[in-house]
Protein backbone atom coordinates (compact mmCIF):
# COMPACT_ATOMS: atom_id res chain seq x y z
CA UNK A 1 0.00 0.00 0.00
CA UNK A 2 2.86 2.36 0.86
CA UNK A 3 4.41 1.41 -2.46
CA UNK A 4 1.20 2.17 -4.40
CA UNK A 5 1.11 5.59 -2.73
CA UNK A 6 4.72 6.26 -3.63
CA UNK A 7 4.14 5.39 -7.29
CA UNK A 8 0.79 7.06 -7.92
CA UNK A 9 0.89 10.15 -5.69
CA UNK A 10 4.54 11.05 -5.36
CA UNK A 11 6.18 9.91 -8.60
CA UNK A 12 3.43 10.21 -11.19
CA UNK A 13 0.96 12.72 -9.85
CA UNK A 14 -1.95 10.52 -10.95
CA UNK A 15 -3.95 11.64 -7.94
CA UNK A 16 -3.67 13.92 -4.92
CA UNK A 17 -2.87 12.93 -1.34
CA UNK A 18 -6.50 13.52 -0.36
CA UNK A 19 -7.93 11.47 -3.24
CA UNK A 20 -5.55 8.68 -2.32
CA UNK A 21 -6.68 8.71 1.32
CA UNK A 22 -10.32 8.52 0.22
CA UNK A 23 -9.55 5.61 -2.10
CA UNK A 24 -7.82 3.74 0.74
CA UNK A 25 -10.80 4.31 3.04
CA UNK A 26 -13.28 2.93 0.50
CA UNK A 27 -11.08 -0.04 -0.42
CA UNK A 28 -10.56 -1.06 3.19
CA UNK A 29 -14.27 -0.90 3.83
CA UNK A 30 -15.35 -3.02 0.87
CA UNK A 31 -14.77 -6.78 0.97
CA UNK A 32 -11.71 -8.20 -0.79
CA UNK A 33 -7.95 -7.84 -0.71
CA UNK A 34 -7.12 -4.19 -0.05
CA UNK A 35 -4.31 -3.89 -2.59
CA UNK A 36 -6.39 -5.47 -5.35
CA UNK A 37 -9.37 -3.24 -4.57
CA UNK A 38 -6.99 -0.32 -4.72
CA UNK A 39 -5.73 -1.41 -8.17
CA UNK A 40 -9.31 -1.64 -9.47
CA UNK A 41 -10.23 1.72 -7.94
CA UNK A 42 -7.23 3.62 -9.31
CA UNK A 43 -7.30 1.84 -12.69
CA UNK A 44 -10.93 2.74 -13.22
CA UNK A 45 -10.38 6.36 -12.17
CA UNK A 46 -7.95 6.73 -15.04
CA UNK A 47 -9.22 4.51 -17.86
CA UNK A 48 -12.63 3.18 -16.88
CA UNK A 49 -13.22 -0.56 -16.63
CA UNK A 50 -10.39 -1.32 -19.07
CA UNK A 51 -7.99 0.48 -16.74
CA UNK A 52 -9.36 -1.50 -13.80
CA UNK A 53 -8.83 -4.76 -15.66
CA UNK A 54 -5.32 -3.76 -16.72
CA UNK A 55 -4.36 -2.82 -13.15
CA UNK A 56 -5.80 -6.05 -11.76
CA UNK A 57 -4.05 -8.24 -14.33
CA UNK A 58 -0.82 -6.32 -13.89
CA UNK A 59 -0.89 -7.03 -10.18
CA UNK A 60 -1.74 -10.75 -10.25
CA UNK A 61 -0.39 -12.23 -13.51
CA UNK A 62 3.26 -12.67 -12.57
CA UNK A 63 2.56 -13.83 -8.98
CA UNK A 64 0.00 -16.27 -10.41
CA UNK A 65 2.57 -17.99 -12.61
CA UNK A 66 5.20 -18.00 -9.87
CA UNK A 67 2.78 -19.53 -7.38
CA UNK A 68 1.53 -22.06 -9.92
CA UNK A 69 5.12 -23.06 -10.71
CA UNK A 70 5.78 -23.57 -7.01
CA UNK A 71 2.61 -25.62 -6.73
CA UNK A 72 3.79 -27.89 -9.56
CA UNK A 73 7.23 -28.21 -7.96
CA UNK A 74 5.60 -28.99 -4.61
CA UNK A 75 3.65 -31.87 -6.21
CA UNK A 76 6.87 -33.41 -7.57
CA UNK A 77 8.83 -32.89 -4.37
CA UNK A 78 10.21 -35.88 -2.45
CA UNK A 79 8.77 -35.23 0.97
CA UNK A 80 11.92 -36.22 2.90
CA UNK A 81 12.41 -35.40 6.58
CA UNK A 82 14.49 -32.29 5.88
CA UNK A 83 11.87 -30.87 3.51
CA UNK A 84 9.16 -31.62 6.09
CA UNK A 85 11.21 -29.89 8.80
CA UNK A 86 11.65 -26.80 6.60
CA UNK A 87 7.93 -26.65 5.86
CA UNK A 88 7.31 -27.17 9.58
CA UNK A 89 9.38 -24.06 10.22
CA UNK A 90 7.62 -22.09 7.49
CA UNK A 91 4.18 -23.08 8.79
CA UNK A 92 5.11 -22.22 12.36
CA UNK A 93 6.49 -18.90 11.12
CA UNK A 94 3.34 -18.16 9.10
CA UNK A 95 1.22 -18.74 12.23
CA UNK A 96 3.51 -16.39 14.14
CA UNK A 97 3.32 -13.73 11.43
CA UNK A 98 -0.49 -13.89 11.54
CA UNK A 99 -0.45 -13.69 15.36
CA UNK A 100 1.98 -10.76 15.32
CA UNK A 101 -0.06 -8.93 12.69
CA UNK A 102 -3.24 -9.48 14.71
CA UNK A 103 -1.58 -8.13 17.87
CA UNK A 104 -0.29 -5.10 16.00
CA UNK A 105 -3.68 -4.37 14.40
CA UNK A 106 -5.44 -4.96 17.71
CA UNK A 107 -3.25 -2.50 19.54
CA UNK A 108 -3.87 0.13 16.90
CA UNK A 109 -7.57 -0.31 16.18
CA UNK A 110 -9.38 -1.96 19.10
CA UNK A 111 -9.86 1.21 21.10
CA UNK A 112 -12.87 0.32 23.23
CA UNK A 113 -14.36 -2.72 24.97
CA UNK A 114 -17.03 -3.24 22.30
CA UNK A 115 -14.44 -3.60 19.53
CA UNK A 116 -12.39 -6.04 21.64
CA UNK A 117 -15.56 -8.04 22.28
CA UNK A 118 -16.36 -8.19 18.54
CA UNK A 119 -12.83 -9.35 17.68
CA UNK A 120 -13.03 -12.08 20.37
CA UNK A 121 -16.46 -13.13 19.07
CA UNK A 122 -15.22 -13.43 15.48
CA UNK A 123 -12.22 -15.42 16.67
CA UNK A 124 -14.28 -17.85 18.77
CA UNK A 125 -16.94 -18.32 16.08
CA UNK A 126 -14.40 -19.08 13.33
CA UNK A 127 -11.62 -20.96 15.14
CA UNK A 128 -13.64 -22.57 17.95
CA UNK A 129 -17.17 -23.16 16.71
CA UNK A 130 -16.14 -23.34 13.02
CA UNK A 131 -19.28 -21.47 11.99
CA UNK A 132 -19.83 -20.59 8.33
CA UNK A 133 -18.34 -17.20 7.57
CA UNK A 134 -21.64 -15.89 6.25
CA UNK A 135 -23.16 -16.56 9.68
CA UNK A 136 -20.28 -14.74 11.38
CA UNK A 137 -20.50 -11.70 9.10
CA UNK A 138 -24.27 -11.52 9.59
CA UNK A 139 -23.93 -11.91 13.38
CA UNK A 140 -21.30 -9.20 13.71
CA UNK A 141 -23.09 -6.70 11.47
CA UNK A 142 -26.39 -7.46 13.21
CA UNK A 143 -24.92 -6.96 16.70
CA UNK A 144 -23.27 -3.71 15.62
CA UNK A 145 -26.52 -2.49 14.18
CA UNK A 146 -28.42 -3.21 17.40
CA UNK A 147 -25.91 -2.30 20.12
CA UNK A 148 -23.39 0.00 18.50
CA UNK A 149 -25.58 2.53 16.75
CA UNK A 150 -25.22 5.27 19.30
CA UNK A 151 -21.45 5.22 19.27
CA UNK A 152 -21.20 4.90 15.51
CA UNK A 153 -23.36 7.97 15.01
CA UNK A 154 -20.87 10.12 16.92
CA UNK A 155 -18.05 11.36 14.72
Amino acid sequence: MAWIREETVKKRDWLSEDEFAQAVAVCQLLPGANTLNMAVFLGSEMRGWAGALAALLGLVTLPFFIVLGLGLAYGRLEQGPLIRASFGGLGAGAAGVALGTALQMGQKHLRDAWLVFLAALVFAALAGLRLHMLAVVTLVLGLSLIFDRGRASKP
Partner: protein, 172 residues
Amino acid sequence: MIWKVLLVFAALSLLALGGGSAIIPELQRQAVIEQHWLSNSQFVDFYALTQVTPGPSMMVVALVGYQAAGVAGALAAMLGMFGPSSLLVLNVRHTWNRLRNSRWRRMLERTTRPFAVGTMLASATLVASSTNQHAAQWLITLVAAGLVGSKRLGILPTMVLSGLAGWLSGVL
Protein backbone atom coordinates in the same frame (compact mmCIF):
# COMPACT_ATOMS: atom_id res chain seq x y z
CA MET B 1 -15.73 -29.22 -10.38
CA ILE B 2 -14.63 -25.95 -11.98
CA TRP B 3 -18.08 -24.46 -11.37
CA LYS B 4 -17.93 -25.56 -7.77
CA VAL B 5 -14.53 -23.89 -7.37
CA LEU B 6 -15.82 -20.71 -9.00
CA LEU B 7 -18.88 -20.67 -6.77
CA VAL B 8 -17.04 -21.27 -3.48
CA PHE B 9 -14.56 -18.49 -4.19
CA ALA B 10 -17.15 -16.05 -5.49
CA ALA B 11 -18.99 -16.36 -2.19
CA LEU B 12 -15.76 -15.93 -0.21
CA SER B 13 -14.91 -12.87 -2.28
CA LEU B 14 -17.84 -10.89 -0.93
CA LEU B 15 -17.38 -12.11 2.65
CA ALA B 16 -13.77 -10.91 2.90
CA LEU B 17 -14.62 -8.04 5.18
CA GLY B 18 -11.58 -6.10 6.38
CA GLY B 19 -9.13 -7.53 3.84
CA GLY B 20 -8.27 -10.64 1.86
CA SER B 21 -6.67 -12.58 4.72
CA ALA B 22 -10.05 -12.65 6.45
CA ILE B 23 -11.08 -15.64 4.34
CA ILE B 24 -8.30 -17.99 5.48
CA PRO B 25 -10.27 -19.75 8.27
CA GLU B 26 -13.33 -20.18 6.03
CA LEU B 27 -11.18 -21.25 3.06
CA GLN B 28 -9.56 -23.94 5.22
CA ARG B 29 -12.98 -25.15 6.39
CA GLN B 30 -14.46 -25.25 2.89
CA ALA B 31 -11.48 -26.65 0.96
CA VAL B 32 -10.19 -29.15 3.54
CA ILE B 33 -13.17 -30.17 5.66
CA GLU B 34 -16.18 -29.75 3.35
CA GLN B 35 -14.89 -30.31 -0.20
CA HIS B 36 -11.75 -32.43 0.48
CA TRP B 37 -9.85 -30.65 -2.27
CA LEU B 38 -6.60 -31.00 -0.33
CA SER B 39 -5.27 -32.23 3.01
CA ASN B 40 -4.84 -29.97 6.00
CA SER B 41 -1.06 -30.22 5.85
CA GLN B 42 -1.08 -29.32 2.14
CA PHE B 43 -3.24 -26.31 2.94
CA VAL B 44 -0.85 -25.09 5.61
CA ASP B 45 2.16 -25.69 3.31
CA PHE B 46 0.50 -23.67 0.54
CA TYR B 47 -0.45 -20.89 2.92
CA ALA B 48 3.14 -20.72 4.20
CA LEU B 49 4.55 -20.81 0.63
CA THR B 50 2.42 -17.89 -0.52
CA GLN B 51 3.69 -15.84 2.43
CA VAL B 52 7.19 -15.91 0.92
CA THR B 53 6.26 -15.42 -2.75
CA PRO B 54 5.87 -11.96 -4.30
CA GLY B 55 2.41 -10.54 -4.90
CA PRO B 56 -0.79 -10.39 -2.87
CA SER B 57 -0.85 -12.90 0.01
CA MET B 58 -4.19 -14.12 -1.31
CA MET B 59 -2.42 -16.10 -4.04
CA VAL B 60 -3.01 -19.16 -1.87
CA VAL B 61 -6.43 -19.32 -3.57
CA ALA B 62 -4.70 -20.18 -6.88
CA LEU B 63 -3.00 -23.18 -5.27
CA VAL B 64 -6.20 -24.38 -3.62
CA GLY B 65 -8.01 -24.09 -6.99
CA TYR B 66 -5.14 -25.90 -8.71
CA GLN B 67 -5.35 -28.76 -6.22
CA ALA B 68 -9.10 -28.98 -6.80
CA ALA B 69 -9.23 -28.91 -10.60
CA GLY B 70 -5.81 -28.32 -12.19
CA VAL B 71 -4.81 -25.15 -14.04
CA ALA B 72 -8.43 -24.40 -14.98
CA GLY B 73 -9.29 -24.67 -11.29
CA ALA B 74 -6.54 -22.22 -10.41
CA LEU B 75 -7.91 -19.73 -12.96
CA ALA B 76 -11.48 -20.27 -11.73
CA ALA B 77 -10.37 -19.67 -8.15
CA MET B 78 -8.68 -16.38 -9.11
CA LEU B 79 -11.70 -15.24 -11.13
CA GLY B 80 -14.08 -16.18 -8.32
CA MET B 81 -11.95 -14.56 -5.62
CA PHE B 82 -11.17 -11.26 -7.36
CA GLY B 83 -14.15 -10.87 -9.75
CA PRO B 84 -17.10 -10.08 -7.47
CA SER B 85 -15.16 -7.83 -5.08
CA SER B 86 -13.70 -5.91 -8.05
CA LEU B 87 -17.14 -5.41 -9.59
CA LEU B 88 -18.34 -4.10 -6.25
CA VAL B 89 -15.47 -1.60 -6.10
CA LEU B 90 -16.20 -0.48 -9.67
CA ASN B 91 -19.85 0.11 -8.91
CA VAL B 92 -19.86 1.71 -5.49
CA ARG B 93 -16.63 3.70 -5.31
CA HIS B 94 -18.35 7.02 -5.93
CA THR B 95 -21.44 6.34 -3.88
CA TRP B 96 -19.25 5.50 -0.90
CA ASN B 97 -17.30 8.69 -1.07
CA ARG B 98 -20.51 10.67 -0.97
CA LEU B 99 -21.69 8.72 2.07
CA ARG B 100 -18.68 9.84 4.06
CA ASN B 101 -20.69 11.09 6.98
CA SER B 102 -23.44 8.51 6.99
CA ARG B 103 -24.12 6.48 10.11
CA TRP B 104 -24.09 3.22 8.15
CA ARG B 105 -20.69 3.86 6.77
CA ARG B 106 -19.30 4.73 10.18
CA MET B 107 -20.79 1.60 11.67
CA LEU B 108 -19.21 -0.50 8.93
CA GLU B 109 -15.90 1.26 9.48
CA ARG B 110 -16.02 0.37 13.16
CA THR B 111 -16.93 -3.24 12.44
CA THR B 112 -14.31 -4.10 9.79
CA ARG B 113 -11.35 -3.55 12.15
CA PRO B 114 -12.35 -6.06 14.84
CA PHE B 115 -13.38 -8.41 12.05
CA ALA B 116 -9.89 -8.25 10.55
CA VAL B 117 -8.27 -8.82 13.96
CA GLY B 118 -10.57 -11.74 14.84
CA THR B 119 -10.09 -13.52 11.51
CA MET B 120 -6.31 -13.02 11.68
CA LEU B 121 -6.20 -14.55 15.19
CA ALA B 122 -8.32 -17.46 13.97
CA SER B 123 -5.92 -18.02 11.04
CA ALA B 124 -2.95 -18.02 13.41
CA THR B 125 -4.63 -20.56 15.70
CA LEU B 126 -5.72 -22.86 12.87
CA VAL B 127 -2.33 -22.83 11.17
CA ALA B 128 -0.42 -23.32 14.44
CA SER B 129 -2.65 -26.16 15.62
CA SER B 130 -2.35 -27.98 12.29
CA THR B 131 1.38 -27.65 11.82
CA ASN B 132 3.05 -27.31 15.21
CA GLN B 133 4.06 -30.70 16.60
CA HIS B 134 7.29 -29.95 18.44
CA ALA B 135 8.20 -27.43 21.10
CA ALA B 136 10.72 -25.99 18.61
CA GLN B 137 7.88 -25.07 16.26
CA TRP B 138 5.93 -23.32 18.99
CA LEU B 139 9.09 -21.40 19.79
CA ILE B 140 9.36 -20.34 16.11
CA THR B 141 5.73 -19.20 16.17
CA LEU B 142 6.23 -17.11 19.31
CA VAL B 143 9.47 -15.53 18.11
CA ALA B 144 7.93 -14.73 14.70
CA ALA B 145 4.89 -13.20 16.41
CA GLY B 146 7.13 -11.10 18.63
CA LEU B 147 9.26 -9.89 15.72
CA VAL B 148 6.32 -8.97 13.48
CA GLY B 149 4.11 -7.72 16.31
CA SER B 150 6.76 -5.30 17.55
CA LYS B 151 7.66 -4.28 13.97
CA ARG B 152 11.28 -5.30 14.55
CA LEU B 153 11.35 -7.38 11.36
CA GLY B 154 9.26 -7.50 8.17
CA ILE B 155 7.11 -10.46 7.16
CA LEU B 156 9.40 -11.80 4.43
CA PRO B 157 12.64 -11.92 6.50
CA THR B 158 10.68 -13.40 9.42
CA MET B 159 9.36 -16.16 7.15
CA VAL B 160 12.81 -16.88 5.73
CA LEU B 161 14.27 -17.13 9.25
CA SER B 162 11.43 -19.45 10.29
CA GLY B 163 12.05 -21.75 7.32
CA LEU B 164 15.77 -21.83 8.13
CA ALA B 165 15.04 -22.54 11.79
CA GLY B 166 12.78 -25.43 10.77
CA TRP B 167 15.45 -26.81 8.46
CA LEU B 168 18.06 -26.52 11.21
CA SER B 169 15.82 -28.37 13.65
CA GLY B 170 15.62 -31.14 11.03
CA VAL B 171 19.41 -31.31 10.67
CA LEU B 172 20.08 -31.45 14.40
